[in-house]
């Protein structure tokens, strides 16, 4: 259960190899989160993330095979995980890929698969997760969105639109869960300096996985619905939205 001060005792991560998710888990475990289940494609990174959670002191740490795009099995997968481990106080939707805009623009298959990984497949999984959370009558769903979804930019509009879709989906889902004991937090980081963006020049107001994790932990405490990291981005993007299109179009890559 999440206690009065907002500390969860169990967490399920969809996209368990995510660097941001790993940073969140690293903060939750010392604050008495005992069960960590990392769902994702089998990989060395997923195993490393599990090892890190164990090293941090969690009692039950497991990795489970999960493919965001395998929508036919989402319901069975989610049931199986909840039946096996019991309630989850927090579910983090962290699966996602950035892609390379240059390739995506020319390759419909690559575009479709990015949208499936970041949006359609993940949203489908969240439908199943929300069903179980509603049943258990408590919990918080943390959805990692991005400021890139607020206004799609020509430099990364495929990724941006996938996050825009996910973000809108999560907003509606959160409203539909009102009164069920389940809350949804949408996290909108700016440019996160890390593995995903390796080799890229950081955008202004860039942040780190650790800072995002801090904001997420705080949002679990406060029950905040939308979190920007850094928080100043809330105002920056309120302005960005108002820029005339001719200006926005010229935003550097």
């Amino acid at each position: 259960m999440i206690d009065a001060i907002g500390r969860p005792q169990s967490v399920l991560v969809l996209g368990g190899a995510s660097e941001i998710a790993q940073a969140i888990v690293a903060k939750l475990v010392p604050a008495r989160c005992r069960t960590v289940v990392l769902a994702g494609r089998e990989s060395a990174r997923l195993a490393e993330a599990a090892e890190a959670a164990r090293a941090a002191g969690a009692d039950v740490v497991e990795t489970v095979a999960f493919d965001t795009t395998d929508v036919d099995h989402h319901l069975a997968f989610v049931d199986q995980v909840f039946d096996r481990f019991g309630d989850f106080d927090v579910v983090i939707a962290a699966a996602g890929i950035l892609g390379t805009q240059g390739i995506l623009e020319r390759d419909p298959v690559a575009t479709a698969s990015l949208l499936a990984a970041n949006f359609t497949g993940l949203a489908a999984a969240l439908v199943a997760v929300a069903g179980r959370l509603r049943q258990q009558g408590h919990g918080r769903l943390v959805v990692l969105s991005s400021v890139a979804g607020i206004r799609a930019r020509k430099a990364n509009f495929v990724y941006g639109s996938s996050k825009a879709g996910l973000d809108a989906f999560a907003q509606g889902l959160g409203d539909s869960l009102e009164g069920t004991g389940v809350g949804v937090t949408i996290v909108r980081p700016g440019f996160v300096v890390g593995r995903m963006t390796e080799g890229m020049a950081p955008a202004p107001f860039s942040t780190t996985p650790d800072a995002v994790a801090d904001a997420v932990v705080k949002s679990i405490e406060s029950g905040a619905g939308v979190v920007y990291v850094p928080s100043v981005l809330r105002w920056v993007f309120a302005l960005m939205r108002l820029l005339p299109q001719v200006v926005w179009r010229r935003m550097p890559g």
Partner: protein, 520 residues
């Protein structure tokens, strides 16, 4: 029997933290209790989520919540079954509030044996939390005055007395509703001549002096409590107002009341005001709280002897303000109440010092000396000092601060009060309540499938969040895993069976009917 219909709703405790949703079933009669219990036990295949009773919701934390499951609103069980005005023995429904008991019986010369700082608690809740009052040092806790009760468990209905089944009786005393649903209780009331108290009030300039006064003088009073200002520092650290007294006899009262015994015994509680809405967070901040505490201290007489006060003001000053818990804003608040043995009175000082260091707004704290404990393995009181602090949620280091206070309390061999708790860690809880395995063994006897569940139980590892698979029945879970790890806290010997440590990933052995273990 079909399952009684419930209404899905969000519930919190008095602290208004951590809301969860449950089916609230109105226990309009005892048949509904039986039916709901049966339905909760039978819903195994549909991932049943158990049942717990709820009274007036005055537990501060998650004791009367059951996320996703059934919460039985027991305030419906409000009948007076039997009243013996000669002996003061009454049998009432578990949903009868102490306020109702007082309203009906004080005018007839009988008062509740134990009352907490609010009279808006039910008899069932009073037993489940084994509540204490200002007279603990003389009269003990509530369950010492319970002669009999009816308990509906998943394995049947039992009439319990301390003699008939002492293990179950005392596991239910302080058992937080996790041994069954109490439907009625027989209580020995205490005789009073009037509804007034004769009260001695004195101010104490610091903590040492108030503790000294209490050690030296408490035994001469039936009721004793000190209100401590936790904002003052330095030489004035722990300055207090000590109020002690006993029930007034008719002859103790002023002339106008003596002439009218009806008025001298009147008990008509009034709500003077109601908090109409939830103000913004931070209304109760260090400044406003310090101002209030200052006012409280100065308004108290330096030393006043044998002043008649009505019971309502003496016992339940806060009940005059309806829904005062809203004053803490939408973040809610929590109460940290602990007890430490007599020889560790120093811990009280260290806790108050720590609070003043972090400048946390702590409303008036309540200090009291407990007398001998009763036999309940989860019963809170033990001989020693208890301090209760109301703290707003939202201070960024509250979690670490309270964990550190837990540490001090554990080092002193003390514990926190489950009826107030909303955040203690499972491992700390086990250290504080070393007899928990004894309690779990009794619970497993009457509730082998773990049907009785609450959010508090899940949080502390007293009940698991799933029912075990029925013997001989293949469940989804049994098919889907080969070595399913139970969620387990790092506990010293969980449940009635020892916990073997397996691989890092799968540390607990799987059994078909696991003893109650940690949930989420």
């Amino acid at each position: 029997m079909s399952a009684p219909l419930g209404q899905r709703g969000l519930l919190t405790g008095w602290g208004r933290t951590a809301p969860t949703a449950a089916e609230v079933v109105h226990a309009v009669d005892e048949d509904i209790v039986d039916a709901a219990m049966e339905a909760a036990g039978a819903s195994r295949s549909e991932r049943g989520r158990g049942i717990v009773a709820r009274g007036l919701g005055r537990s501060y934390g998650d004791a009367a919540q059951n996320a996703g499951g059934t919460v039985l609103d027991a305030t419906w069980l409000d009948a007076f079954h039997k009243v013996d005005l000669d002996s003061g023995v009454v049998t009432v429904g578990a949903g009868v509030s102490l306020q109702t008991l007082m309203e009906r019986l004080v005018p007839l010369g009988w008062f509740v044996p134990v009352t907490p700082g609010t009279r808006l608690v039910t008899v069932g809740g009073a037993i489940a939390a084994d509540i204490h009052g200002k007279n603990h040092h003389i009269d003990g806790a509530f369950c010492s005055h319970v002669l009999e009760m009816t308990l509906v468990t998943p394995t049947g209905k039992v009439t319990l007395s301390p003699a008939s089944d002492p293990d179950l009786f005392w596991a239910t005393a302080g058992g937080m509703g996790l041994t069954g649903v109490i439907t009625d209780a027989t209580i020995q009331m205490i005789a009073v001549e009037t509804s007034y108290m004769l009260v001695d009030t004195e101010r104490a300039p610091d903590l040492d002096s108030v503790m000294e006064k209490m050690l030296g003088g408490d035994d001469a009073y039936r009721y004793s409590v000190a209100w401590i200002d936790c904002q003052s520092t330095g030489r004035r650290l722990g300055r207090s107002v000590l109020t002690r007294g006993d029930h007034a006899r008719l002859e103790d009262l002023p002339e106008r009341l003596r002439r009218s015994p009806d008025r001298a015994r009147a008990f008509v509680p009034r709500t003077l005001a109601r908090v109409p809405l939830t103000p913004p967070n931070g209304l109760l901040n260090p400044l406003t709280v310090a101002a209030f505490n200052e006012f409280w201290f100065r308004k108290a007489p330096l030393h006043q002897v044998a002043k008649p006060h009505h019971m309502t003001g003496f016992f339940h000053p806060l009940d005059g303000v309806g829904e005062w818990n809203r004053l803490y804003g939408s973040n809610g608040f929590l109460q940290y109440q602990f007890v430490v043995p007599d020889e560790h009175g120093e811990t009280v000082r260290r806790v108050i010092e720590r609070l003043t260091e972090v400048k946390l707004a702590s409303f008036l704290a309540v200090l009291k000396r407990f007398g001998p404990d009763d036999p309940g393995p989860l019963s809170f009181p033990m001989p020693g000092w208890t301090l209760a602090l109301d703290l707003p949620v939202g201070h960024h280091d509250l979690d670490l601060l309270l964990d550190a206070l837990d540490q001090k309390v554990m080092e002193a061999g003390g514990r926190v009060y489950l009826a107030k708790d909303s955040r203690v860690a499972p491992a700390a809880f086990r250290t504080m309540y070393p007899r928990v395995d004894e309690w779990l063994a009794v619970r497993n006897r009457v509730d082998p499938l773990g049907v009785l569940r609450s959010d508090l139980g899940r949080r502390l590892g007293l009940c698991s969040d799933r029912l075990p698979p029925a013997p001989g029945r293949r469940t989804r879970r049994a098919r889907s895993t080969t070595a399913a790890p139970e969620k387990a806290a790092p506990v010293r010997g969980a449940g009635a069976s020892p916990v073997a440590r397996g691989t890092a990933a799968t540390r607990t052995p799987r059994t078909d009917t696991p003893p109650e273990r940690t949930g989420t």
